[in-house]
Symmetry: C3
């Protein structure tokens, strides 16, 4: 790992384009912006470890909008906001008047008079989550340009239907620390594999986020899933193109074993098929309980055909020297622990449990880094000052 | 608009009586206190625009009690508290033991050991909301006098059955900025008009707040509503008396067109008739769903007789030079947008939309100003210092 | 009362063992640690009264986990966190994914990346609450030792099935202030008595907390309850042993009158029998509504046999000079006020009402003191500095 001094020198050498920008999809960010984000997150983590606070705001609000349940992302966002000196206010839409016909653009301005950042999770409806974030973004842009808002808050995607950038970036920092550098990822094989789960309707954003980010660093990215469990086609196409550009490899296979063979990293994780999510969205919107129940039954029955897609000891032995890094966004469906049979065997998970905690530990620092890079012009200078104090 | 220097000189010339006092009804405040509140709110807004924080507390709590839904007032209160350095804690009565027989006076003290301010919204029950605020006020006064509380928190009315002072004061600041000064309001005609809405049970506090405040500045205030849609009689009487004292005019008419004719400002907004609110209160208290449903049907049927009470282009053309300032506390019921037919035509609303956002934007600063004037003795000196830093 | 200078000298003379430790049961703490806690709480209260902030954190989180309703403890924890400079984040388990199979140890780490303290209320299930706290404690200890957490947050018991240490400690500070010193408690008689309530299922933690703490100061502790309303046997045994060690007296009687006779302090408070709580736990866990209803009926019928266990004027006259200090953790079931007949007569409660508020007022300062003693090595030095500023 670089020393702080080296990290800051690297940071200063990058061409950044994050200031004043939202963070909605990792692939909208330049390679330098991604690299900067890992550096800033690592520096903030080191400052925190050393007991050096990195408060940069005296007052100001961080607004969160959670349109789906969340524990770890909620706490990560709260932690990042607090560490920077921002007060957290959650827009709980059940409590608000949004249900009574307020338009998104109006609400976006009403909550933003003193906001510096708005974090949004909206991952339930395919085709909706990222779109909603862009509506909020356009609304505060209009409010700012027309003088309603004194400052334009930055929007941060805390998981949508397409990407989960705070997770994928935390995963990238984890990989960077595990292998020593972003350069060291070149040629490493990562298996992003579907895994069996006795639940259904899990978002596609994690696997999409992984193939959408890791294909940029020359990695050999293998996406594995049973037939029918496709991701959004556009994201797969993007991953393929990025992989070619970065000098890596990208392939899609239909066997967990094939994916795991000689892998340096495995990421076994369940998700719902793209086509099911497409059918689910109108049912959810119409509140069609019978239709949803029928779809769930159909989907669970189909899932059950692939119970052998479990990350067990045997499959782990297929990986490079049987010692691949196991990754998961948590919580995992652990066979015999959180369900009868699930994504991962209990023994495999337990062996890697603390490593998955460490993986998760980068998320608050990644979010804080996203906020800093969006709000502060000279982040390197700021970090230098914070490290000195 | 005055420069900051002029504003602070004016502020210092006023005889203030707000220190240590609650803010429960605008008409309990002297003209100087109201004027000071507009000045302080404007200064805080300018400080925020200039990126100068106005944190005055190191620690301390702002407690909110919302007995009805709210988005914008909730965020305005949170924003004001945060900007002043206070931590926000919401008393969520569903979570608390209040449902289990705690008396108001006990709870008021239990939540106040470190509180500087308590903001309350309680607007559902006619005859109850403002009364509840005074009970809380008396309870913390007793606790303070008997040594239980080290400081007596100030109570701020975030909307009750009688008044909505944070809204009315934000509206006044908006009018002041639109016309250039409070003096410039003299002789200007404001039409506070009922408007059709496909909902019922909307509080009376906004129209009452408007006629209870704007009649103090020599404005020509016209209250318009269909027969039967009266406000609380005492508030109408008060408005009439204040109008006479201030050299303005006050009249009640039964036609939106009459109200709009030559108006400089229009405020078309639906509300439930006073008599319906009176009948609704015991039904709500008894949880009489059938009775509430019957009353709603009756009331909606009656509303439907007045669908032409819509603020449309044609009526807007009746106003002074067809160019009246359109005001609304938001969210508005917009015909063809948030409902089939409502308070305002889509074209009219869209034309004035950003102006209504600006109107709303003063609320956090008004609330912060209420807190400062209640808690800090030399607010002018404080603002001078904040502006210098 | 000692002056601050004397208090700090006493504090510095104590052998403390609280740094880096959780606060789960008062009887796990040394006499010096308990004494220190009263001193620090009193100093913080005096600082607050004098308008001297005692913020010690720039940033950092205080996490709260409330597995049962709470108003006063929730606000006390929020107040303490805010006063020390910590941001409050509540883990609302309904909002989180905990219901979907997350293990305690995982969640404990996921919420703790920037946490300094975790306050937990878990008092519903006999045999579960304190155990859960220890699981959280072990989990963050593991996370810290294995490098996942940069710091190990301290766990504070905000009420469990066994003890209610923040309440008992606030009660002790109240007694100390009432009688002048901890030494003055020696030989004073305190009657911890069951009282009638028209509800059932009230936790045992308050009476257990009182007999588990007050027996350590040479007090004559009398526990009174009707036959069958036993507390957890182990806690009663512990109280008996502690009493012998401290040179006090401990007895269990089955009459409120016997307990009140010549008492210096009375603490009449309802609770559910230990045996009922034991039967209730599996029913709650199974969600057996019929079983719970039947148990409630049986228990209420049994309670009704003891309606004369009310703290009334007549019984108060039995106390020392008819002038015992009345204590209650609030809210009390007040006859004719919060219920037809309850724990205390309206006249008795009203006479002592403000004193019970004062009793409660120590809780935020007790919690802040618990946090300081656990997180800061030289608390005496810190307080000296804070008092000077």
């Amino acid at each position: 790992m670089n020393t702080l001094k080296n990290q800051l020198e690297t940071l200063q050498s990058l061409q950044l384009n994050s200031h004043g920008r939202d963070f909605l999809l990792t692939w909208e960010k330049s390679a330098d912006d991604i690299r900067a984000l890992t550096l800033v997150a690592e520096c903030l983590s080191e400052l925190h470890r050393a007991g050096k606070p990195f408060r940069v705001y005296d007052t100001g609000l961080a607004i969160s909008i959670f349109r789906d349940n969340s524990t770890r992302t909620r706490f990560s966002f709260a932690s990042a906001a607090n560490a920077l000196g921002l007060g957290l206010v959650d827009l709980d839409e059940e409590k608000s008047q949004i249900a009574h016909g307020e338009t998104v653009r109006e609400t976006a301005n009403m909550i933003s008079f003193m906001a510096e950042v708005i974090g949004i999770r909206d991952d339930m409806y395919l085709g909706e989550g990222n779109k909603y974030m862009r509506e909020v973004s356009a609304a505060v842009q209009e409010g700012f340009e027309l003088g309603v808002l004194h400052r334009r808050p930055s929007i941060i995607n805390l998981q949508c239907d397409i990407d989960h950038p705070t997770q994928a970036m935390a995963d990238l920092v984890h990989l960077k620390q595990h292998f020593g550098s972003l350069e060291a990822l070149r040629g490493k094989k990562i298996a992003m594999s579907w895994a069996y789960s006795p639940s259904y309707g899990k978002p596609l954003s994690v696997p999409q986020g992984i193939i959408g980010l890791m294909t940029r660093f020359g990695m050999n990215v293998t996406l594995a899933h049973p037939e029918g469990y496709d991701l959004i086609p556009d994201v797969v196409t993007l991953a393929r193109e990025q992989s070619a550009d970065s000098g890596g490899r990208f392939e899609v296979v239909s066997s967990m074993e094939d994916a795991f063979r000689d892998a340096d990293v495995v990421y076994p994780k369940s998700w719902a098929p793209y086509s099911v999510m497409q059918r689910r969205t109108p049912l959810l919107r119409q509140g069609d309980r019978a239709g949803l129940k029928a779809l769930e039954q159909e989907c669970l029955a189909n899932n059950a055909r692939f119970k052998d897609w479990e990350c067990d000891e045997k499959k782990m032995r297929l990986t490079r020297q049987g010692a691949a890094l196991y990754m998961h966004c948590l919580p995992a469906d652990i066979s015999g622990v959180s369900c009868a049979q699930g994504e991962v065997a209990a023994g495999v998970f337990e062996k890697h449990r603390i490593a998955t905690y460490r993986e998760a530990s980068f998320k608050p620092f990644v979010i804080a880094a996203m906020i800093l890079l969006s709000r502060v012009k000279d982040v390197a200078g700021l970090l230098r000052k914070l490290a000195r104090d």
